[in-house]
Symmetry: C3
Subunit: 335 residues, 3 copies
């Protein structure tokens, strides 16, 4: 940990962006890659100095892998697939430093903890239903382990919910039932810099989800919509919304410092709906880089307000690591 030379991540999600950003800031790079993904990542060897093939993600905590990473003086960048792949139980077993706050990644994995954190921050959140009898409006049902929007479904009433759950063979005692806010979805990409003590807004996107975003093109009611994220579409916000967006971002930084010390480090995302009265309601957060930032590998309409050079989220992470090294403040950005 005394030295950091190589930026490492798992070959998925936003790995290409992270590799490019690391190179732009002068680091060596390495990827941990499943065999069936090799076909993609070997195409970008100019961005990746080393590719380590593993059989399954839990191999990351095997002694040999850990040793390789330590020998590389690696820092590991977690992304949206990271905890999902290695397993929450393995998170603390990784010996190399991780960019960010491991504890926050753990919280993120639990819908109730996530929700409580947002709520206690003073950020507007949807109603959550603990009792089916309380359901009085459109709700979205999220199952534990449902990732990237897969396995979510909608219901207008308790009866409809129970009927669908039976059809899908779902154990409702595990389900997280949340008010479905009517409005437009929007995702805000923040970066909190512990080195500068500065909150930056680096982008925003809309998720492109299958099949819900295709069904609107069909004048038939064939199937229930599903919400599997398959891509991201760029969007800029009505400028007057930035008041709420920065306010929420600051509140999130503050609450994580109190409840999950040392608080959020680097990228995070508030996942929201903007209602027609211009009120923003946040239904989830991500405590690490989100895939929507892949849109902005050459900078976003927001990053160009801060930087006079192309600044992706991947590069911003590498920049923060470089700044931390230069300021002898690595402890501020790793866990």
């Amino acid at each position: 940990m005394s030295e950091i030379k190589t930026i490492v991540t798992i070959a998925s999600h936003s790995a290409l962006q992270i590799m490019k950003g690391a190179k732009q800031e002068g680091f060596r790079t390495a990827l941990i890659c499943l065999e069936n993904r090799i076909n993609v990542y070997t195409r970008f060897k100019h961005l990746i100095d080393n590719i380590f093939i593993i059989k399954e993600y839990s191999d990351i905590i095997r002694n040999e892998t850990q040793k390789i990473l330590l020998d590389l003086d690696a820092i590991i960048i977690p992304h949206g697939s990271f905890v999902e792949y290695i397993g929450i139980e393995n998170l603390y077993k990784i010996e190399s430093p991780i960019f960010g706050n491991r504890k926050l990644m753990e919280w993120e994995y639990d819908q109730w903890k996530k929700y409580e954190l947002l709520k206690s921050a003073g950020i507007s959140v949807p109603q959550v239903y603990n009792k089916l009898n309380d359901i009085d409006r459109l709700v979205i049902v999220k199952l534990p382990g449902a990732k990237g929007g897969r396995g979510y479904f909608l219901a207008m009433s308790k009866d409809e919910l129970i009927m669908k759950a039976e059809k899908l063979n779902i154990d409702l005692s595990q389900a997280f039932i949340q008010e479905y806010i009517i409005g437009t979805p929007m995702y805000f990409h923040y970066f909190y810099s512990p080195i500068y003590d500065r909150l930056e807004l680096l982008g925003s996107d809309i998720r492109y989800e299958s099949d819900v975003d295709g069904l609107r093109r069909i004048p038939y009611n064939i199937v229930e919509p599903t919400f599997t994220v398959v891509g991201n579409i760029p969007v800029v916000l009505r400028e007057s919304l930035l008041t709420q967006v920065f306010d929420y971002g600051e509140k999130f930084v503050k609450i994580t410092k109190t409840k999950v010390p040392p608080g959020v480090i680097g990228p995070f995302c508030l996942e929201a709906v903007c209602r027609n009265d211009l009120k923003i309601v946040v239904f989830e957060f991500s405590g690490r880089i989100v895939a929507g930032t892949n849109l902005y590998i050459q900078g976003s309409p927001y990053s160009w307000l801060y930087f006079d050079e192309p600044m992706s989220m991947g590069r911003r992470i590498a920049r923060e690591i470089k700044l931390a090294i230069e300021n002898d403040a690595l402890d501020k950005i790793i866990s």
Copy 2:
């Protein structure tokens, strides 16, 4: 007016873009800002030399404010929220030069005048209904003062329209009732340069509106759609549409020279629907910068056809001011 040193606007809408563009062209910058917006704009001090806090927008015409602006050798850039905020009755009381044509801003504020201007230009426009009895197809009802799409509603018939108006407690005598064109919405960002006598197309976008653009994801008919603009999504046009797009733009420049002399100056937008037969129908215009240009702070697919440097609409405005100063032709671009 003999000298211009500082580019000034109101802190909203496209202010960040205007500030950055001004800096890129070497101007000093200043923002007039309501107290509750300060949290956003102080984050971008590197783009803004002075921030003047006011209590309400009408303070802009107070003597103290006017003096400050005159002392700064300011030119004021109006944007979409400008006339709305300061009030049409205060527009001519501003002593500092305004980039653009104040008279056109006044016309823009009146749905009927707007419509007549487009129509007399020879641009395809939707049918407008003066008598409820004439309604024979889908219409959209726009109320005076309904801004950013808020307060619009749809109706298929006279009866439905009256029913909805009663429900919303609306005085229909004030309503502007327009045929709702079936097709895809598209917004074209033009810049007319009086210095070059050149019409440029600098971008295009699709508005992202709450909650209409979210409702399509819900397989229930819960609520009437609303049309509050909350963001903008980039789009490029089928290249063969450019024939119409440039033709309409030229027609708009020409008619404003005749009917609202000296005509449009700088940015304007035609707000249109493209029908499935590839005919473009224009339902509104904006005689100043639109927020959709915020997408293109580092240039758009169109701006890169004209310029070999990043050219946002904000920068293009500043460039035109610089050109006017260099050519001793400020009178061509201000009012």
Copy 3:
């Protein structure tokens, strides 16, 4: 053919991008332009050295035009409107070298051949129905000559299909009837470089179609949706989809080498739907530049992974020609 000095295309589709890309790589440029398009292209004279006006597209094979092109040492870049405009029967009469494989352009023109090529490549394709009686799900009906999505329609059953065909006065014996895959549409922009023997992914987009993409905003069932492409919207893909995307691209390159030798040259596009189980199904291909690349005139989120300079598809084509000239390998890229 021993020398190539001028990059030429027809004034439509992606011509502006092709002209700019050619200039960036140091070529002379020329456009073949119908009179009614002149209003657009003369605005971009800084990108176009010569504009040749023709009365109808078939004039391209007239002796005078052919001589002009030969005198310019021209290479012709075909785009989506190219074969459609000049006519499949004229394709081989052009004496100047064409960038790409003329034979593939011919195949592309036939829905059945297209479909068979994809299928024999081992790429997932939708079911195709030769007998109306076999229709057992939602289908899309495509008529020969229906271009840019115009003239397509949907049906849920044989009966509905026949009813609609009668209403539209369509000869069903000519129709191409394809399963309509439920999911989200996505278009992948590839470039296969014969010089590098390398497959690149340079972008992806979603088509913006009139009126289907506008109908979703209307809570009425007024009209049957139509699918006329009027623009393109940027999208990035979930990174884990790249495995399939590159696999399909490689399969396409391979099958064209076998079945349509020498195979695809330069840009091509797979036109797909991503299902909610993350399976990509390809319903069509384009064997040349697609208009969705117009989004990325200054580079795309993918092109920036390969190149440290702005690389549009238009520029990539010009770059490949330059590389071929430098390597004395022009025969590899023309036909």
